[in-house]
C-alpha cells in the first residue's frame, strides 16, 4: 500500500519504548506486564499487521494506539504528536462491529458527519455517505437496520462509518474474526480494494497468519506476554493482490515461516504457565 520507498519515510504512527502494566485482579498477586518496551514505526499508508499467540498483548498494543489505554511508560505518537485518548483521527474497527443498532446503514455512516467535530452541511453529508456506501458495496441497503444484515455487511458498515470521518489511520482489532471463512476472504479483498482507492495507514491485529501476510506491507510477530517485537517481516508482493496469491509458492513459504515463529511463541507461553 506504500506508494514508494522514499529516502525520507514519513512516519505516521510511532510507539517509543511503550510499556503497559496492569494491577492484577485475578488470583495471582502483583502486577501484570502486558506490553514491554515496545517500539515500532509505521509509515504513512503502510499496512502493518500484528500477529502472535493468544493473550500476547497485541490487542493491548492496538488499544494503546487507539487511546483506550494509557501507556505506563513510553510514548505513542501520531504524526509526531502524543496520543491522548480516543479520537476521530484514529478510526477503530472492532471485531463485534459496534455499529449502532438503532440507526439504518445510511444513518450509521452519516453518524460521524453529524457530530460537532466533523459537521458538514446536510447536502454534502448525503453525498459523502453515498461515496462510502459505494466503496464498501452497500448499495441497496441504505435503509436496512443492522439486525437485517449479515456479519460481513455489518463490518462493511463499520468500515464505511469510520472512513466517513476521514481519520488519519485505521486501527482494526481482528475485524474479520467473527466471520465464516468465505466471508472473511471476501472481506479481505473488499478491504484491499477500498484501500486501493482511498489509502489509509492501517494497524491490523489478527490471529490468522495468512490474513496478515495477505493484507500487509509488513508483519510484526509479537512475542508471548509481555508483548515485545520478535520479528519484522516485509511482504514483498505487489498490490493489487488477488486471491490466487494465497497459493503462490513464495507466499506459502512466507506464511509457513511466520507460522513457525508464532507457534514457537505459543510454546513458550505454555511453558511459562508451568511456573
Amino acid at each position: 500500500m506504500k506508494v514508494q520507498h522514499d529516502s525520507v519515510k514519513e512516519v505516521k504512527i510511532e510507539l517509543i519504548n511503550t510499556s503497559k502494566m496492569y494491577e492484577s485482579t485475578a488470583g495471582s498477586r502483583g502486577i501484570i506486564e502486558a506490553v514491554k518496551d515496545f517500539s515500532l514505526k509505521i509509515e504513512n499508508n503502510e499496512f502493518v499487521s500484528l500477529i502472535g499467540p493468544s493473550g500476547c498483548g497485541k490487542s493491548t498494543v492496538l488499544n494503546l494506539v487507539a487511546g483506550f489505554l494509557e501507556p505506563t511508560e513510553g510514548q505513542i505518537l501520531l504524526d509526531g504528536k502524543p496520543v491522548k485518548g480516543p479520537g476521530k483521527d484514529r478510526g477503530v474497527i472492532f471485531q463485534q462491529y459496534a455499529i449502532f443498532p438503532f440507526l439504518t446503514v445510511q444513518e450509521n455512516i452519516e453518524f460521524g458527519l453529524k457530530l460537532a467535530a466533523n459537521r458538514i452541511p446536510k447536502s454534502e453529508r448525503k453525498k459523502v455517505a453515498s461515496d462510502f456506501i459505494r466503496l464498501m458495496g452497500l448499495e441497496g441497503f441504505e435503509e436496512a437496520y443492522p439486525k437485517e444484515l449479515s456479519g460481513g455487511m455489518r463490518q462493511r458498515v463499520a468500515i464505511a462509518r469510520a472512513y466517513a470521518v476521514e481519520p488519519e489511520v485505521f486501527l482494526m482489532d481482528e475485524p474479520f474474526g467473527a466471520l465464516d471463512a468465505q466471508t472473511r476472504s471476501n472481506m479481505q479483498l473488499q478491504l484491499l480494494e477500498a484501500l486501493q482507492e482511498k489509502r489509509k495507514t492501517v494497524l491490523f491485529v489478527t490471529h490468522s497468519v495468512e490474513e496478515a501476510a495477505f493484507l500487509s506491507d509488513r508483519v510484526v510477530v509479537i512475542t508471548s506476554r509481555p508483548a515485545r517485537i520478535r520479528d519484522l517481516v516485509e511482504t514483498p508482493f505487489p498490490y493489487p493482490r488477488e486471491e490466487k496469491l494465497k497459493t503462490n509458492k513464495d507466499f506459502l513459504e512466507l506464511r509457513e515461516t511466520l507460522k513457525q515463529e508464532v507457534m514457537q511463541e505459543y510454546a513458550m507461553q505454555v511453558q511459562g504457565r508451568g511456573k
Binding site: F68, G91, V92, V165
Partner: protein
C-alpha cells in the same frame, strides 16, 4: 403494509374467537344452573347493566377517574424513575450500593402500604397519588437500572473514535439505546399501578371503578360487580396494547431473540 393489515386482522379474529369461547362457556355454565342465577349473571345481563350505567349513570366518570389517577401516578413515578434508574445503572458504585434497598421496596406490594398512607394522608386524592407514585416508581426504576447497566460500553467507545463529545455520546448513543427500557418501564409500572389503584379504590374511594365494585357489593348487585371487573381488565388490556404498539414502532430496530 398489506402483510401488517392481514396480521392485524388475524390477531383480531383470534382474540374475538378466544373471548367468544369464554362467553360460550359462561353461557353454558349459566344455563346449566350449576351456580344460582342470582349469584351468576349471564353475559347479556352484565352488558345491559354496563350500557345502563354508562348512559344513565356515572360509569364514564368513574372510568375517567380511575384512568386519571393511574395516569398521574405513572407519569410522576416514571418521570422520576428514568433519571434515577439511569444514574444507578450507569454508575456502578452507586448502583450496587442502592440495589438491595431498591429491590426491597420494589418487592413490597404497594397495597400493603395503603393503611399507613391513609393514616398519614387521609383518604383523598393525595393519598392515592402517593401510593401510585410509589408503585410506579419502584417498579420502573428497577427496569431502568437493569436496562441501562446492560448497555454495551463498546458503543460508547465506537462513538468516541468517531469524534463524539460526552454530551453527544449521551444524546445520540446512550439515550436511543435506553428508549426500549423506558418503554418497558412504562409498561411494567402501568401494570403494577393499575392493580394498586383498584385495591386503593376498593378500600377508600368515592369514585372510580374500584369504588363502583365496592358500592355494588354493598348492595349485592352482582351484575355490576362483573361489569366492573370486566371493565378493569379491558382498560388494562387497552393501555397495555397502546404501549406495546408504541414500543414496536420505537424499538423496531431491536433484534428478535431466537434460541
Amino acid at each position: 403494509m398489506k402483510e401488517k393489515i392481514v396480521k392485524l386482522f388475524i390477531g383480531l379474529m383470534n382474540a374475538i374467537s378466544a373471548f367468544g369461547v369464554l362467553f360460550g362457556v359462561w353461557y353454558i355454565v349459566y344455563l346449566s344452573g350449576v351456580i344460582k342465577p342470582a349469584l351468576f349473571p349471564p353475559p347479556h345481563i352484565v352488558l345491559q347493566q354496563a350500557v345502563f350505567l354508562f348512559t344513565e349513570g356515572r360509569l364514564l366518570f368513574d372510568m375517567l377517574s380511575s384512568i386519571q389517577r393511574v395516569a398521574i401516578g405513572v407519569f410522576l413515578g416514571v418521570t422520576v424513575a428514568v433519571p434515577v434508574g439511569f444514574i444507578l445503572g450507569w454508575n456502578e458504585r452507586l448502583g450496587s450500593f442502592f440495589q438491595p434497598l431498591i429491590n426491597f421496596f420494589r418487592a413490597l406490594p404497594p397495597i400493603a402500604l395503603i393503611p399507613l398512607v391513609i393514616v398519614y394522608f387521609g383518604i383523598g386524592e393525595v393519598a392515592k397519588t402517593v401510593v401510585l407514585f410509589y408503585a410506579a416508581f419502584f417498579s420502573s426504576v428497577v427496569v431502568m437500572y437493569e436496562g441501562i447497566s446492560g448497555i454495551d460500553p463498546l458503543f460508547v467507545r465506537a462513538a468516541k473514535t468517531l469524534g463524539a463529545s460526552s454530551a453527544e455520546i449521551f444524546t445520540k448513543v446512550v439515550f436511543p439505546l435506553s428508549v426500549p427500557h423506558i418503554l418497558t418501564a412504562l409498561r411494567v409500572s402501568l401494570g403494577v399501578s393499575w392493580a394498586t389503584l383498584v385495591a386503593a379504590e376498593l378500600v377508600a374511594a368515592q369514585t372510580g371503578l374500584g369504588a363502583v365494585i365496592q358500592d355494588a357489593s354493598n348492595y349485592f348487585q352482582i351484575p355490576i360487580i362483573y361489569m366492573g371487573i370486566a371493565l378493569i381488565g379491558f382498560l388494562a388490556l387497552v393501555m397495555d396494547l397502546i404501549i406495546r404498539w408504541l414500543s414496536s414502532y420505537f424499538t423496531r430496530w431491536q433484534e428478535e431473540f431466537t434460541a
